[in-house]
């Protein structure tokens, strides 16, 4: 287990259970099927696919609703496809509100926030996981302790802090306050600890200091873990709602996508067609991300599942 170069899952699993899975049960039950078994398998497929169809139908219906004229949104009887496929709805969204600003803000905040989180947590993770210093374990416990405090306790005083800093309605307020949570540091520390120390010792003997060893040895080995942290951080910034809602007053300048979407529904003469188009647009980046990274999904959950959102 410890000889191979440690996937984050096994690193976490080892840390948690100390027990290595003997062999994945994936290949279990590949024995030839009886007739009864085959019939059961057909029904299992039918059930699962039916469940999937029902599950995804709200999204499919929302997508086609985004292509309907507004007058047909609630036609009776309901139809999936309207009298025309009005693709122009997706363009009209941008004229309905400062939608482009929302999208730009969301991308900027999510990318900047992710970069901050990655920088801060890889550095701190390195100090906690691979350097020896006085008080390290005590400080780390303090770090972990802060994970227990829910966001709701923090947002009220955080808003006060933002007022004192003059940060209300600003990008720093959207980026920094929740970029220093201990979660990323914890994740990185766990991963870094799994990297064999001999690799670094050799470089140290050759005269490399911790900065060089961090940048040239540890970080390249941690690419997959950093990627997982990056994706989950991006998602949490992209989807964040409560904090931007509190700290943004002027939506037209600093509103992010969720804030913009929510304010759409408050506008006069509700344009459901445009709301649906806007909702679909906001879903695209994260959906693409998940489809592109589906292979790492289970691994990421096993790793990041410890923190959630």
């Amino acid at each position: 287990m410890s000889t191979e170069l440690i996937s984050p899952v096994t690193a976490i699993a080892d840390a948690e259970h100390d027990a290595a899975p003997v062999e994945p049960a994936e290949r279990r039950g590949r024995a030839p099927l009886t007739t009864g078994g085959r019939i059961r398998l057909v029904f299992a497929h039918l059930g699962v696919y039916l469940a999937a169809l029902i599950f995804v139908s709200p999204l499919v219906y929302a997508f086609f609703s985004a292509l309907k004229p507004n007058s047909e949104m609630f036609s009776m009887p309901p139809t999936l496809v309207g009298s025309e496929l009005r693709w122009s709805n997706f363009a009209d969204v941008f004229a309905y509100g400062p939608f482009l600003t929302y999208i730009g803000n969301s991308f900027f905040v999510a990318i900047a926030g992710t970069l901050v989180v990655l920088t801060v947590s890889t550095m701190a993770g390195y100090a906690f996981g691979r350097l020896r210093w006085k008080g390290r374990d005590l400080v780390f416990v303090l770090f972990l302790g802060t994970l227990m405090v829910p966001q709701e306790v923090l947002v009220i005083p955080m808003f006060q802090v933002m007022q004192w800093l003059g940060w209300v309605d600003s990008y720093p307020a959207l980026i920094f306050p929740f970029a220093f949570t201990a979660f990323g540091t914890f994740l990185m520390r766990q991963f870094f600890r799994g990297i064999p120390f001999e690799l670094e010792e050799a470089a140290r003997v050759d005269g490399a200091g911790p900065i060089r060893s961090f940048l040239q040895i540890i970080l390249p080995l941690a690419k997959s873990a950093v990627a997982v942290l990056a994706v989950f951080t991006f998602l949490s910034f992209w989807n964040s709602y409560l904090w931007p809602l509190i700290v943004t007053v002027d939506y037209a300048s600093h509103g992010t996508l969720p804030i913009g979407l929510a304010s759409f529904s408050g506008l006069q003469g509700t344009r459901w067609d445009l709301q649906m188009a806007a909702a679909i647009i906001s879903m695209v980046p994260t959906t693409v991300l998940v489809i592109a990274l589906q292979k790492h999904l289970v691994k990421g959950i096993a790793m990041a599942g410890l923190g959630g959102r």
């Binding site: 899952v9 699993a13 259970h17 899975p21 003997v22 062999e23 994945p24 049960a25 279990r28 039950g29 299992a44 469940a51 999937a52 599950f55 709200p58 219906y61 929302a62 949104m73 609630f74 009776m76 009887p77 947590s121 550095m123 100090a127 350097l131 020896r132 210093w133 006085k134 227990m148 829910p150 709701e152 306790v153 923090l154 009220i156 005083p157 006060q160 802090v161 007022q163 920094f176 929740f178 220093f180 003997v205 005269g207 200091g209 911790p210 060089r212 509190i246 996508l257 979407l261 929510a262 529904s265 459901w272 709301q275 879903m283 959906t287 998940v290 489809i291 999904l297 289970v298 959630g308």
Partner: protein
């Protein structure tokens, strides 16, 4: 770049390493101090003050806490709504996602794609998900439209009826969060050791017996973890009721977090909001501790 050389003088070396470690950890420490420690301390302080967003602060002792329980008309309903939501949401979500993970066994074709499908609402913005459901649940929306044109049945006005509104907040939330626990359980099921499953099979366990007596106990640590996380997030529910029903009708679906948000940012009573947030925190801690206690009865660790 550092100038450390590898000398046998351990004292100097340790000092150098300590100094360098401080450099690595200081951004995180500074951020944590400013954005977590300071707010936590400030929050405790604010809870004891009459603290309007603008204007003079006034020390009031435990008055905020007393006011919450005795004079705040929305507080008790918010507590009740939070518990009702959690009581409905946690078991439904955990059981459904467990069933789903079990159904998506290795024999199902295209299960990779199905997993992604069930996971999509987890990662799409909550606001967008809620908007979709808000459209479906309108009196002339898809659900009622289908019921009327297929069966001639008039469904209740889901978002206007207190009980239905809460049910729909739960339904929408279950739909949204299902994929997350499903993946946790799928990961756990895939890690089951072949030898144990095979041994149970030879002993004649199959079907329901196999799942109930062999697989579930073996993934019980994952079920425990998922239950705790699901419970904690359910106590923090905010966006779904806030956007789907606005907490209404009346205050029938307003949870604690929305109460906190309203007190703080609608009524500008930051002190009262801070006090309510600490009550939420206390509830989370107590319920989590209780679950940790109860786990001895049903969670099986390997050793």
């Amino acid at each position: 770049m550092s100038t450390t050389t590898y000398t046998p003088r351990r004292g100097t070396l340790a000092r150098t390493e300590s100094r360098q470690a401080l450099g690595f950890v200081s951004p995180a420490l500074a951020g944590l101090a400013l954005f977590t420690i300071v707010p936590v301390v400030l929050s405790i302080v604010m809870g004891f003050f009459n603290w309007p967003t603008f204007g003079d602060k006034e020390f009031v002792g435990f008055d905020n806490y007393v006011r919450l329980f005795t004079q705040s008309p929305d507080f008790w309903p918010a507590l009740r709504n939070t518990f009702v939501f959690a009581l409905l949401y946690v078991p439904i979500s955990v059981i459904l996602s467990l069933l789903l993970a079990l159904s998506l066994s290795s024999r199902i074709r295209g299960r990779g794609a199905l997993r992604v499908l069930f996971f999509i609402p987890v990662v799409t913005p909550m606001v967008a998900n809620v908007l979709v459901w808000k459209m479906l649940l309108q009196p002339q929306g898809l659900f009622n439209g289908l019921a009327q044109s297929w069966f001639g049945v008039q469904l209740p006005n889901f978002l206007a009826d207190p009980q239905w509104a809460m049910i729909m907040v739960v339904v929408m939330s279950v739909w949204q969060g299902l994929g997350y626990n499903m993946l946790i359980f799928s990961a756990a099921l895939e890690q089951l050791p072949e030898s144990v499953v095979e041994a149970a099979r030879i002993d004649g366990a199959k079907g329901f017996r196999m799942i109930w007596s062999v697989m579930l106990p073996m993934i019980s640590p994952s079920i425990f973890f998922a239950s705790i996380m699901t419970m904690i997030t359910s106590l923090q529910v905010f966006a779904q009721p806030q956007l789907l029903t606005g907490g209404g009708p009346g205050n029938a679906t307003q949870p604690l977090v929305q109460f906190i948000y309203n007190q703080g940012f609608k009524f500008q009573e930051l002190g009262l909001a801070a006090a309510a947030a600490w009550i939420l925190f206390a509830i989370i801690i107590v319920l989590t501790a209780l679950q940790f206690r109860a786990q001895k009865k049903w969670v099986h660790y390997e050793h």
